[in-house]
Each structure stands twice: as structure tokens, then as C-alpha cells.
Symmetry: C2
Subunit: 457 residues, 2 copies
């Protein structure tokens, strides 16, 4: 089928759920990165896995790219339609397919957002822990290998996805695994697609591990004289095996931003924000033990926040840090970095990065999932000033090189997308050749989100 | 190179570390399954990744199969050299390459066994939780996707392998990931090789997450009037989120076997064996909470075992259950099944299986990692009685069909090997086609442990 007949065919299939309107294409041609938009030729709004399979088959027949699209909150250009084609908006597929309280698992369509899922689960006393900053779709989170503030206790999407339904590049629909909580049955197809960013197939359903809401939750906050002592305190807490649910670092400028944005008054110093999950007695004991350890290592004002409201405000502040940072410099765009290093190297990495930022006069906040060795620098740049954009990109390049030198990764949770392909080649020079072979095998005509993760040629 | 010159070439490379002696070949032509031995033509004993790569290159040039071999404790024929070729004995590569207490990770050569690793870690106050019954090699455990009694708390090999070094089928050496605790950098090559059973490449180094030995450990044991109430009690404990470290089911005949084998006197009833990890106060609280829940649901004689010696004897008994069961019927071989189902279906699955065993007059014990929905039936059969062997195999077939009907898997932890390839096709009919594509891509000449996991044609 010639490419120009593809849209007629798709329109026959979807009716007005295929759009070529400029505004709709614009909405689907950008994400939350500062990368220039790249518009798809059309946007499809399927309502079922069967429709996704039909769309992919039609596109495959004509060599037209298919770019899966969820909430559009990716940070490295994952959803930009750099080769045109069809943006596949999955937000109409947002049902909970099946929920088992006894099995602590749930199957959802890919387009449901994490907040929508959380509402459904909360009614049953359950929760899903993975919490990237944005209200992303579960399918998008699986495709990106997302994580967040609770990874130190509950893991990333990799540890929490039990099975996937995937539409392959030729329209075949497969299940990657059964619903058993563990399996050694053959190659791990689930994890092949988790983190594949839509380049190997379209994730249409996701089966997740879920958890009972803990009997008790406590928060805590403390400040440190410097970044190094904050990170050393984290290391000490993890080594004694206290099962912290969250342990987040926020630097001084980020605190200023959060205070201004949310009308709060945290002291301007490197902070650790913590959360504990367990029994009533358990969370108090955890918090007390952590308090002792971190105070020994230089923390001041260790303060438990058992009150739910105080705790919620503390974590809202942390989750708002992206938008709070943006508000530091109106009109600026945020360029967000995402390295992750072995925790023994984290203090060095953060300190060298702060020195680098300051030496170049950049405005940048830092927050970190320090329990995992992962931290973000948000550089606030004027998108219309090429020299500033260039300086920020060079800072990112140096940061990635620094992380790789420390046996770390170029991306802890944001993914490769369009922007980090060169970094991936440096990170896993032999591995990337294997990735390219996998891509060629599963998508021989390069129609699945082409130009992302690995170069085809 | 013609095949007959391969051994000359390998001998030049390895000297007397290449053996074609009958006894050595016999030792490497069998595992712990009841399958008939299949001998390799030669056994190679490499001392380095470089040597493994050279061996693979030589074999690849001549189309000679390479079968990675660790402790030989696989249960589904994984290491049988059914197409001849070279058995690659990795037990000479048994060093700890690097250990980081601060990062709670360790890199080992593939041939180190889990007990040898445990000794090294214990000196630093650390432990590695994954504990299959056998003293398997870490490389073998990674290749099989092994798990054990602590999976309910700490996960399987999938959750505990951070990165691998792999020799591919053409002799290339790759690292699958950096040492960061999480990464979204490209396709998940680590998990492609975990569970691939030597069919996609040779795992030569493994980087593992490790844990601090908990401040306190407590054990517990209780008995139930019937299997159904035991499983319901497990479900209840998991739902309230008590982080049990182990929760194991042992059936009546297995208790009899253990008592006889180890000179113990557990009551003859369905038992749950539990373990709790945490602070001194924490483990007592966990144990008390679990005691309340399970007693409410029918358990009697809930008894805490805080004393280390009593606890050790309890878990030694559980770990010995394989050999204890064998001793029930001297001269018999054990045929071990390995299904895993959603926990809501576990009681039904175990009960139907017990009825099936009894209806056919088989002698079989049952133990289960019930927190994961995984259980084993050990059928004690006379290997020289074809009708009995056939009856056992038919029992296994019915059990797998039952598990698949319940959305479970044919293997929770033992893997596919030679014996479960047909089951895999039934379990993931679309998925197995994708697995076959992956196999063809990474091992186009079918030299890596051929005839296992997926059929090549």
C-alpha cells in the first residue's frame, strides 16, 4: 500500500479517532524536554488492543512509523515523531482490566495514568509505589523503565511489572509472561520490552505487582552542613539495612525554589527527606534509628513527621520541585540530567557537578533519589539563547562522562530517547551492538518509534 | 576448520585443561534430573573470560556445540550435551572480582558457588539471599533464573543481578550494564541473559546486589489441620504487608521424611516454616503479628524460634527435604515438578495435585515457596520401571496443564532445559516465536547449548 493511502485506511478503521488537525499533531509532537517539536502526520486514538494491532499492520504494510504516546511527559524526546508517521495515543485505553486483592496484582490498559490507578487501588487499601514526578501513563512508565522516590524500597518498573501484552511491529499480539509472581520459563520477554521506549513494539496491557497500604507511615526531615555528609549519612542508613521507603536529597537552591513556590520555610541547607512504612511501632523505631545515625554523621534538626498532613506537604514539596525550579527563572526551560552512580561515588559526583555548575554561572537545582545513587540537575536556561543552551548541553556531556568514569549510567530513569543515543554507545559499547541486533530482529522495517534508543544502521 | 581439528586447537589453548577422558565426560553429561545422560565430546576448564572467548571462537568456527557447566545441579537437563560438543566447566573461574561494602554489591566469576560466596560475604557482615536447594554456581543460578526460600522478601536472581559479563556465540565479550543500582539505558540485556540457560551466550561474570546481615533473625513454625488453611494463612500474612523473609510450606509426607532423615520430631501435619529479618524489636513484632493471624486462621502450636541453633536446624531440615525425600524410598530417583500459580489459586492447585498423586498411588512429597505461589512435588520413582516413570511424567503433564489453566507457569525456578520445551510452547504460544527469533539472532549457528529452551527450527 502506498503511504498516502495509509491514512484513508486508518480512517476507515477509526473514523474520527484519526486526526490530522494541526493542533492535535502539535500536542503529540513534543514532550517535556527542551528538544524542538517534531510533528506526526496523524494521531490515532485506538480503543482496544485489536485496533492497535490493525493500525500497526496498516502502517507496517506501508513503512509508516508508529510512535506510541501516553501522557507526553518524557524528558529525552521519546515521543517526538522525528520521521513523521502516526502518533498512537493510548490514553483512550485506560481501563483496569482485572484487580486481584488476594494476589496483590492488577492488569491495566497501557493508557491509564498512575494517579488514576492509585485512586482505584486506594479504595481497596492498596497502592502502586512507582512514582515518577509526572502523572505518566502506566504504559509509558513501563516503556521508559520509570522509577521514582520509592525505588530504594519497592524497586523500579523493572521489578514491578509482572507481564505485558505487546503488539509487535508486524501486528502480532503476544503476552510476555503468565501471571505467576515468578517464572523461569524461557527468555525474559517482559524485561525486553520494559525500557524499550516503543522501539520494539507497542505495550497495550501491563500486569503490575501492587502492595497493601502500610499500617503506618512516618516521614522525617533533617539538614546537613554540606552535601558530602548528607550522602555519607544515606550510605550508613542503607548499610545497616533499615528498610527506608524513601530517602531523598534536596540541595540548597532547590529548597529556596520549593519555599518560594509553595510558601514553605524549610531551612536553606542540604536536606534529606525520608519516609518509613511499616507497623505503628516499626516506623517509629526505624525513624528513631535513622535519627541516631544521621545525627552522628552531622545532621541537625532531625524531625519526625508522623502527622499525615505535615508528611503530605513535605512530599508535595519534593514532587513539585520540577515546577518550583522552573519558577525560579520565569520563561526559562528546564534541562534535566539523570545520571546514576554507585552510591560510594555519589558524593564525589554531586560535589564535582555543583562545582561545574557554579564555575559556568549556570542556574541549576539538584534533587536526588540518593538511596539509588541517582540525582537530577535541573538547569534553568533561556531556550532562545543558543550560547546558554550550548553551555547547558556541554555541562550535561561532562556530567555523563563523569558518571561513566564512576561505572555509573547516563540515565537512571528518564531513558535514552532521542537525546542520549550517543551516550548509550559510550556506556555499553559492546551492548549497543546487541541492542541493534534485537531491534533489527523485532522491527526489521524500522517502523516502531524510529530513531530512538539505537540507530538502525 | 573441520570439527576433528577443534580439539587439537583447544588443547593447544588449554593444555591438560581440555579433557576427553570418559569419567570426566560422564561427570559432565548428567544433572540432578532423571533424564538419561548425554556426554560431551570433551570438557574444557577455562581460567579466564579471555579463554572462554577463545574456546567459543574455535567452536563457532567449526559449528561445535558449547554447553556451559557449573555445579551440574540443574533439574531439567539443562547441561546434558545432547548434541555432543564441548562442556565448558566454569568452576575454575571462582574468584570474587570486586566487593563493595559501601555499595552493597559484588562482582564474581561465574563459577563461584553460593556457599563459597556466602563465606566471603559473612566476613563483612553481608549476605546474598538467593538460595536454591543445591550449592549451585552463581553463574548457573543467573543462567537458570534461580530462586529459593527468601524470594518472597528479596526476589529471585532477576531482581538481584545488576550486570553480567557475557561471551556471545561469536566470541565477543560484552558487559550488559554498568554498576549503577538502576538504569534506563537501552534494552535490558542483563535480563535477556538471566534465565537464558546458556543458549544465548556464556555468563562469565555476575554483579549482584548484596545485603547487610539483619540485626536480628527469628524463626517460627506452626501446623495446620489441612493444606487449604495453611495457604489461606499465607495469603493473609502477605496482604497485611508483613515483610516475612521466608514462608515455606511442607506437607505431611515431607515432614515424615525430614523427621526420619534428620532425627527430628516435627508433628505430622501441614507445616509452615517462617523467618523474620529486622531489628530485635521488629522481628518479635513481626512474629507476634503473624502468630495472631495464622492462629485465627486455624494454625496450632505457633512457636517462635529465636534461638539461632533451633532456627538453623529448622532451615537445615527444609533444605534437606530433597535428600530426605529420596531416603523415603532407597534406590528411587526424584522427579521434581516446579509450577507456580497466582497465590489465590495455590490451595486449589496443591489440593488437586495431592488428590492426583494419591489416585495414582505415587509416592510424593510436597514443599512450597508458598509466598510466591511456587511449589514442588517430589515423586519418588523407580528409574528402571518404565510404567512408573510414565505415570510420573503424566502426573507432571497434568500438573503443568492445571497450573497453566490457573494463569500460572510451568516452572517457577528450575527452568525449561530439555524437558519443558513443549510446556513453554503451551505457556507462551506467541512469546515462544519471539524467543526463537532472539535465539537465531544471537546464536545464528545454534552452537550455544543447542536443543534447550526453544527449538531452533
Amino acid at each position: 500500500m502506498p503511504a498516502d493511502r495509509v491514512f484513508d485506511e486508518l480512517r476507515r478503521l477509526l473514523g474520527d479517532r484519526l486526526s490530522t488537525a494541526q493542533s492535535v499533531r502539535e500536542q503529540h509532537g513534543r514532550d517535556e524536554s527542551p528538544l524542538a517539536p517534531a510533528l506526526p502526520d496523524a494521531v490515532a486514538f485506538p480503543h482496544s488492543t485489536g485496533e492497535v494491532a490493525e493500525i500497526v499492520k496498516v502502517c507496517a504494510g506501508a513503512g509508516v512509523p508508529v510512535v506510541p504516546f501516553g501522557a507526553g511527559t518524557s524528558l529525552e524526546g521519546h515521543v517526538l515523531a522525528t520521521s513523521g508517521g502516526v502518533s498512537l495515543d493510548l490514553t483512550g485505553m485506560n481501563e483496569v482490566v482485572r484487580l486481584s486483592v488476594a494476589d496483590l496484582d492488577v492488569t491495566v490498559q497501557a493508557g491509564i495514568t498512575r494517579n488514576a490507578l492509585s485512586e482505584v487501588l486506594a479504595k481497596e487499601g492498596l497502592f502502586f509505589p512507582v512514582d515518577p514526578g509526572a502523572d505518566a501513563t502506566i504504559g509509558g512508565m513501563a516503556a521508559t523503565g520509570a522509577s521514582g522516590t520509592t525505588t530504594v524500597r519497592y524497586g523500579t518498573m523493572r521489578e514491578n511489572v509482572l507481564a505485558l501484552q505487546v503488539v509487535l511491529a508486524d501486528g502480532r499480539v503476544i503476552e510476555t509472561a503468565r501471571r505467576a509472581r515468578k517464572s523461569s520459563a524461557g527468555y525474559d520477554l517482559t524485561h525486553l520490552f520494559v525500557g524499550s521506549e516503543g522501539t520494539l513494539g507497542v505495550i497495550t496491557e501491563v500486569t503490575l505487582r501492587i502492595h497493601g497500604i502500610p499500617e503506618a507511615i512516618a516521614g522525617a526531615v533533617c539538614r546537613f552542613p554540606d552535601i558530602g555528609s548528607a550522602v555519607r549519612a544515606v550510605t550508613a542508613v542503607l548499610q545497616v539495612g533499615i528498610p527506608v521507603a524513601r530517602i531523598e536529597f534536596v540541595d540548597e537552591l532547590a529548597i529556596e525554589a520549593i519555599n518560594a513556590y509553595a510558601g514553605l520555610s524549610y531551612p536553606i541547607a542540604p536536606l534529606l527527606l525520608l519516609e518509613f512504612h511499616g507497623s505503628e511501632a516499626g516506623v517509629l523505631e526505624q525513624s528513631a534509628s535513622v535519627g541516631e545515625i544521621v545525627t552522628e554523621l552531622g545532621a541537625t534538626d532531625y524531625r519526625s513527621a508522623v502527622d499525615a498532613q505535615e508528611r503530605a506537604s513535605l512530599w508535595r514539596a519534593r514532587h513539585d520541585s520540577f515546577y518550583a525550579s522552573l519558577a525560579l527563572r520565569p520563561g526559562a526551560k528546564a534541562i534535566t540530567t539523570d545520571v546514576c552512580v554507585p552510591i560510594s561515588r555519589l558524593a564525589d559526583c554531586i560535589l564535582a557537578t555543583r562545582a561545574d555548575i557554579d564555575a559556568h554561572g549556570l542556574v541549576a537545582t539538584m534533587v536526588g533519589h540518593v538511596g539509588d545513587g541517582n540525582f537530577h540537575v535541573m538547569m534553568l536556561v533561556d531556550p532562545d539563547d543558543p550560547s546558554e543552551m550550548k553551555m547547558a548541553e556541554e555541562m550535561n556531556q561532562r556530567l555523563v562522562a563523569r558518571a561513566l568514569d564512576m561505572d555509573g549510567t547516563s540515565t537512571g530513569e528518564h531513558g535514552i530517547g532521542l537525546h542520549k543515543m550517543e551516550f548509550l554507545t559510550r556506556e555499553l559499547p559492546g551492548g549497543v551492538d546487541v541492542m541493534r541486533s534485537l531491534k533489527r530482529t523485532l522491527d526489521p522495517h524500522n517502523i516502531m518509534n524510529p530513531g530512538k534508543v539505537v540507530a538502525f544502521d
